[in-house]
């Protein structure tokens, strides 16, 4: 009895020792040497795995950052300049600071501005809808409102406004990863320079139809009248195919174009309210005085 147990223990012990030795040798022989810096770089990256950098995820991007010599063209939109400078320091490479960007929805065709002429009964997906026909309004360029952009956003930064049925961007959450710009079949969403104090001006329309056709379909369509181009003192506005586009790199945020636009298709964001005009002030004082008079009568 004793000898059986003993033999088993010894046999298994020897077997274990041999196998351990083999495993050790194999592990040494086929060791994968991975650059430790990849782990380090990955830990600096935000870990969102959004694909905004153009790589399949943060790990792939970290690998690319370590392996590439010139990383000045690579950028993590989620981590932004802060993360990129940290990585540059860590890897001893150079990066260039980039302007912060943010997604903007270039369509203002709310239910009120743009009449619905038919009803789509198919799958709730912009991609399906765009593949089927031109859309449920007379504007064949505008937002379809089925929320493909919402479903691809990893940061919950975009949502459909129930009243206008248009997507809106949460400025604090948007990281400019660009997934929504790729998901939109109508290419409405654009990544634009965030601007100082998040102030920015853009044309909220991409309708390339002639002015009359565009206006008939939507009250706030860009009709390509060029009033904004005339008003702009910095030559930042180009008009192509009856559609104005403001170059964010040339725009100095003077807001003259916003005032000039007859269809209110140019949108200004995060600006302080304008100084009220003199005429309005006069009206107000008139009202005030008449109120005082009325009060007098009552009294």
């Amino acid at each position: 009895m004793d000898s059986t147990i003993l033999t088993t223990v010894i046999m298994l012990g020897i077997l274990a020792a041999i196998l351990a030795a083999v495993l050790y040798m194999v592990a040494q022989r086929f060791k994968v040497v991975e650059d430790e810096r990849i782990d380090g770089t990955e830990s600096i990256l935000p870990g969102a795995n959004c694909g905004g950098c153009g790589y399949t995820g943060c790990r792939a991007f970290a690998e690319a950052l370590v392996k590439t010599d010139d990383i000045s063209v690579m950028f993590c939109p989620v981590g932004g300049n802060a993360a990129m400078t940290k990585i540059a320091e860590y890897l001893g490479k150079k990066v260039e600071a980039k302007d912060n960007e943010i997604a903007v929805v270039r369509c203002a065709g709310s239910c009120e501005n743009r009449q619905r002429v038919n009803e789509f009964d198919g799958a709730t997906s912009c991609a399906v809808m765009a593949a089927t026909y031109s859309g449920d309004t007379n504007c064949s360029y505008g937002c379809l409102g089925k929320g493909d952009c919402v479903s691809v956003c990893n940061f919950g930064a975009i949502y459909i406004n129930g009243e206008t049925m248009l997507p809106e961007i949460d400025e604090d959450k948007c990281t400019a990863c660009g997934s929504c710009t790729k998901a939109c079949p109508k290419l409405i969403i654009e990544l634009r320079k965030k601007g100082p104090k998040s102030r920015r001006i853009y044309v909220s329309c991409i309708n390339k139809d002639k002015g009359a056709v565009a206006r008939k379909a939507c009250k706030v369509a860009c009709i390509g009248c060029a009033a904004c181009r005339k008003a702009c003192t910095f030559e930042s506005i180009v008009i192509e195919n009856f559609l104005a586009y403001i170059d964010p790199n040339k725009c100095r945020l003077c807001r003259k174009c916003v005032e000039a636009c007859p269809t209110e298709s140019i949108i200004e964001l995060n600006f302080p309210p304008r100084k009220p005009k003199v005429e309005i002030q006069e009206q107000k004082t008139d009202n005030a005085s008449s109120e005082i008079e009325q009060n007098k009568i009552v009294l």
């Binding site: 198919g122 799958a123 997906s125 399906v128 593949a131 026909y133 031109s134 859309g135 449920d136 064949s140």
Partner: protein
Amino acid sequence: MIKTFNKGGVHPPENKISRNAALEQLIPEGIIQIFISQHIGAPAECIVAKGDKVKTGQLIAKANGFVSANVHSSVSGTVLGIENIADYQGIKKPAICIQVEGDEWEESIDRSTEINRDLSKTSEEILAKITEAGLVGLGGATFPTHVKLAVPKGKTAKAIIINGAECEPYLTSDYRVMLEHGEELLIGVQLLKKAVNVDKAYIGIETNKQDAIDSLKKTAVNYSGIEIVSLEPKYPQGGEKQLIKSITGIEVPDRALPIETGCIVSNICTTLAVYEAVQKNKPLFENSITVTGKNLKVQKNFIVRVGTPLSQLIKAIGGIPENTGKIISGGPMMGRAISNMEAPTMKGSGAIVFITDDEAKRGTKSNCIRCSKCVAACPMRLQPFLLYKLAERNMLEELKENSIHACIECGCCLYTCPANLPLVDYVRLGKTRAMKLIAKPK
């Protein structure tokens, strides 16, 4: 013996309520718009300019390359110019606009109703006439006929199959053509046979059109090598691959063209157009369109000039009835809803179907319970529920592996789905995306 294909298919209510309405000419008025691209392949090249006077049947846009087709004027009048016109789906395409002035035909067209039984033309002559006439498949796909008839090197054609199944509910224009132009049709078949040098032709007709089968059988006695085949009424009996399987028993291999089986399939209306093109010198500028619906007072089978605005068809049946929920171009299974009622008709337009309010809407969508009804109904042996899920998640590699390319978008899966899932919507989307992936050069 009644033949059929063995896997899948559905049989929706036939609703062929316009079957007794004889074919009727509809001459357009005002302005007509003819799309430059009425076919699959390269758009034709416009050869008329603003202000030109054109006659009915005159060539106005020339085929641009081999896979392309000529476009002819369907009316006589003055060219107003080329403009971007919205089609049924509201998508803008270039079209030639013509102001209608009378109806003066090209002198070369034989307008007599006498049947021309002369079959002495050679294969080359027939093919040249077909190419000249701008013929395209009128079953809906609008593939240029001369390309279809050009048998690739190394392959041999053995038989011509004429698709008289008309398996879609509501549609009756093919049926009317078979009844009213039976003999012309059979001459068309003989011409097709001669064009590709085969001596066997089948005409497959569903048994719900027994009178068409009988009348064609009677006439076919005078023409050698034409067999009328009775088919079981089942959708999609008229699908190219299903039809070949039903009639010859041969399965078209995956990723192969029907010519692999030695069969060339042609539509009824296309065959009649072949007759008209070869024997009467008449190019393709009009086609038969069924205008039908349960809520319509009159059911019509029109012969309509290409480019006639839909609004004139609607006017001819007395306006859109009040309780109309949806208007479909084509049959209710494969057709698409029309969003632009001002759009002009095209060569491939086969029907305008009015669907009532209560029948127009889809049911409420719920969850897939893996009942596999869609798998049983799929005539292409696919798994629609799986393709739907994959397409929804945009998993293109997996879609490719699961043979999404084989889907013929017949809609049987959606028809049977108890959960009302938008199966075809997504499969169609996934197919377009995955096809791009497959077509990409490595």
